[in-house]
């Protein structure tokens, strides 16, 4: 019912978070995506994550490229500034925005065409640089807006709606993110909000380049038999390595976990991740092992999901560049302009 305006009133007893905001305060306009689109579930997960984390909506900058996924920032956090940039170039725009003001939370939303095809270069380089952000790829293996062409994450051998078999190898963005130095890497499924929400929350708390690949079936063009990005296929082949509870720094750990079954991972901001391991041997801080694990399971046709890698001491781009603590966009001429006296010295050195 995308042609209907979203009603502004809401139930007076809606639960409020610690800032006094309700869930509704984190919503955007009504989605114009197809009914049942996986992307809308991710939008819901983002809204829930921000609400539960009690983030001030206006302190988030949401930036996207072009495509179905890149439209979604309109549908959440209506009080945040958003930027729907150009195809495949969200990472550079986000990098620049982040450099201008290190105090905001940067949420980059992209798709598989946007990140793995036209924007593969920018995807790679912003992860290399360690931009402090949450980079979500809403991955459906297909170009939706242009009606069903394969994208670069479509698996070899998978079948398009028109019956064409994809003969190109696929790009695994998670494996690439690991290889490129992302300090937080996860994969989830739009149909599994219980897994996705804590991952998004943990990624927001992470101070570094956090990458989340979310398999998000396209109900229109890639949800048929023979597709490896359909709801049914992903459910059948989902190999979750862990389940996560996110515990913010403000909350005491209330749940009692059985020793051994749960690994507590502390992040730099004091938040904790309680990790219920589903695969006993999986080691969260071992980049090389994570890559091996992924490839091993991919060869068996399984889709590994969960929080796959977290760097213990992440550093972000601002740390690399040793920038001042104040946002660069807040510095005025007093801070930035060296003045006539310095110029006279400079002139004198050139005679």
């Amino acid at each position: 019912m995308t042609y209907l305006a979203k009603p502004k009133f809401h139930h007076p007893d809606l639960p409020k978070n610690s800032l006094g905001y309700t869930h509704r305060d984190y919503e955007g306009t009504v989605s114009t995506l197809c009914a049942g689109c996986g992307h809308d579930s991710i939008t819901g997960a983002i809204i829930q994550s921000c609400f539960e984390l009690s983030i001030e909506p206006h302190r988030v900058a949401k930036i996207s490229g072009i495509g179905c996924s890149s439209k979604t920032p309109t549908y959440f956090l209506g009080n945040s500034h958003g930027f729907n940039s150009v195809h495949g170039r969200m990472p550079s725009v986000l990098t620049g925005a982040n450099l201008a003001n290190r105090d905001l939370i940067y949420l980059g939303v992209s798709g598989d065409g946007d990140s793995a095809s036209i924007g593969l270069g920018q995807f790679a380089h912003c992860l290399r640089r360690g931009v402090n952000m949450v980079y979500i790829v809403e991955n459906n293996g297909v170009y939706g807006l242009t009606k069903g062409q394969f994208s670069a994450t479509a698996d070899r051998g998978s079948k398009s709606k028109r019956g064409v078999i994809n003969t190109d190898n696929s790009i695994d963005l998670v494996a690439m993110a690991l290889q490129l130095g992302a300090s937080f890497v996860a994969r989830s499924f739009s149909g599994d909000k219980q897994q996705l929400v804590p991952i998004i929350k943990a990624a927001i708390a992470h101070k570094g380049a956090a990458f989340i690949d979310v398999i998000s079936p396209c109900v229109m063009f890639n949800n048929h038999a023979g597709s490896t990005k359909s709801f049914d296929f992903v459910r059948e082949h989902n190999e979750a390595v862990n389940r996560l509870d996110f515990i913010s720094s403000r909350m005491p750990i209330e749940v009692k976990y059985e020793p051994g079954a749960v690994e507590i991972v502390e992040q730099h901001d004091g938040s904790k991740l309680a990790l219920r391991k589903l695969d006993a041997d999986y080691e969260l801080h071992d980049r090389a092992a994570a890559l091996g694990f992924l490839q091993h399971h991919a060869a068996k046709g399984q889709i590994v999901t969960g929080l796959l890698y977290v760097e213990k001491e992440p550093e972000d781009l601002h740390a690399h560049l040793r920038t001042v603590d104040a946002p660069l966009n807040a510095l005025d001429e007093k801070e930035l302009c060296p003045g006539q006296a310095a110029l006279e010295k400079f002139n004198a050195s050139l005679r």
Binding site: G82, S92, L99, N101, R322, V324, E333, R351
Partner: protein, 614 residues
Amino acid sequence: MPTATPISRVNDFVIRFANVNGSGSASANEMFARAVMRMGVPVAPRNIFPSNIQGLPTWYEVRVSEAGHMGARGGTDLMVAMNPQTFDRDIAGIEPGGYLFYDSTKPLPPSKFRDDITVVGVPLTAICNREYTDPRQRQLFKNIIYIGALTALLDMDVKVVEQLIGEQYKGKDKLIEPNLKALHIGRDYAVLNLQCPLGIKLRRANAVGDRIFIEGNSAAALGAVYGGATVCAWYPITPSSSLADAFTRHCAKLRVDPETKQAKYAIIQAEDELASIGIVIGAGWNGARAFTATSGPGISLMQEFIGLSYFAEIPAVIFDVQRAGPSTGMPTRTQQCDITSCAYASHGDTKHVLLFPENPTESFEFGAQAFDLADRLQTPIFVMLDLDIGMNHHLSKPLAWDDSRKYDRGKVMTAEELEAGKEFGRYLDVDGDGIPYRTYPGTHPTKGSFFTRGTSRDRYARYTEEGAPYVDNMQRLIRKFDSAKDLVPRPLIATSGKPTKYGVIYFGSTSPAMDEAIHMIEARGHGLDRMRVRAFPFHSSVNSFVADHDFVFVVEQNRDGQLRSLIVNECGIDPVRLVPILHYDGTPITARFIAKAIGDHLDKLTVKPMKVTS
């Protein structure tokens, strides 16, 4: 004795050093140029270098002109021919009566020379082989030795060069002594064996004043520092890389907090030009002053983003240090060939603000002003340097800054204004100048947020594909562009001494050659009013200047007369009234070229009374 009278001139000649790239000649040659300046004589060096690191020919031309002509002149009075690869054509380029300085270690047949020039041989290789054993030293000191010989041949004050050597190797003091030694080996050889000085010589003068010796790229980068740029994203490309390098250097000196050692700037060497401009636009959207430095091929790559910056109205500054195109073209040669591609960059109806500095001083001034203009107009601003301005040292007016100057951050609505209930519509033309208000991300919890997009939208930034709001927005963008006409640097007019029906329009690095050419044209009996255009969109005075003359020459350094086309197109002028004068072989335009082209044209129009013979 040569068949032509040897040139005899003081403080007015051109020396050209022909070297092999990577032989260490550049710093020796630059030292020579500095020495001329230190003697109080105006000097204009130009580095003509190949797209190569080692082995290909390179030239360093030094124009000495006490009269202050700083453009390229054309022709060589003294050729220092150190490159066997180019020996023959180097000799061919010497003016009749000129001089050849060469390495006479290996005897050359007389057919290698010309009979109308004076030949001066110094056995440089033999001297170096005798004095030095290390091959690298033999090469490097050879350069200093010929400088030493030139000090005697040109009657220079050797103390000036000695002092420069001391300054150059300050901190690496053990290099000073061997360099001084090499200098004197050359000088002593010349004094003992050659007839010194030549007919061309240097004499101390007082014509430099307080001017400084600086490259346009360094000055532009300093303009960015003074203009408040905090984010620089760039991708290496000749001839603009040294602008980003200079920004890095200036920032390390001027923008690091002395206590915390933290940087008040962020510089990213991006993966390509697309990322560079993307980073700049992201930073500009978020309220930081940001720029990139590039050249023509980079501009081509940035097209899509430039359109976004125009349409979504995001401040950005682009320094385009132009080089000869199209395609890879001549990457180390100069041209003014990106005027069209920048003025109308990107698909759809777009127009962009261009600034045309004439030299390093204006590169500094416009470099700083570009950031005020970008914030005020919320659009990309192009600062159009070229290789000649950017990569050559120019004797320039000292850089100056008014300490009371405040940055113009443009129309930015604050949290207080939003809280007080001021109406915010991102694309609402509240003042009638076409410039809307914006908010920085993160300003207010519930007011003033908006969605930025390259798609069409209404005055409140809501997505729409309706025709009326689209047209409304496009019309406002034109109003905004009109507003820019009175904000950008105005054209400068110099009126001819005598009334004339003809004018000339020129811009950028053509300036010094034009300034000199005007004297030559006047000497041929023609008056010419001059207008130096300093920005696009054109101020209304461009229209009236053309209207006030029968026709106007447009001098530029490209094949197609790009500025002329822009004037025709934007000012609605009959093309017949604008006569193109075009120089585009990759070398800087010369006064001789301009004077000849314009002079010949005007000669044809001059009615000469017929001589009646009885």
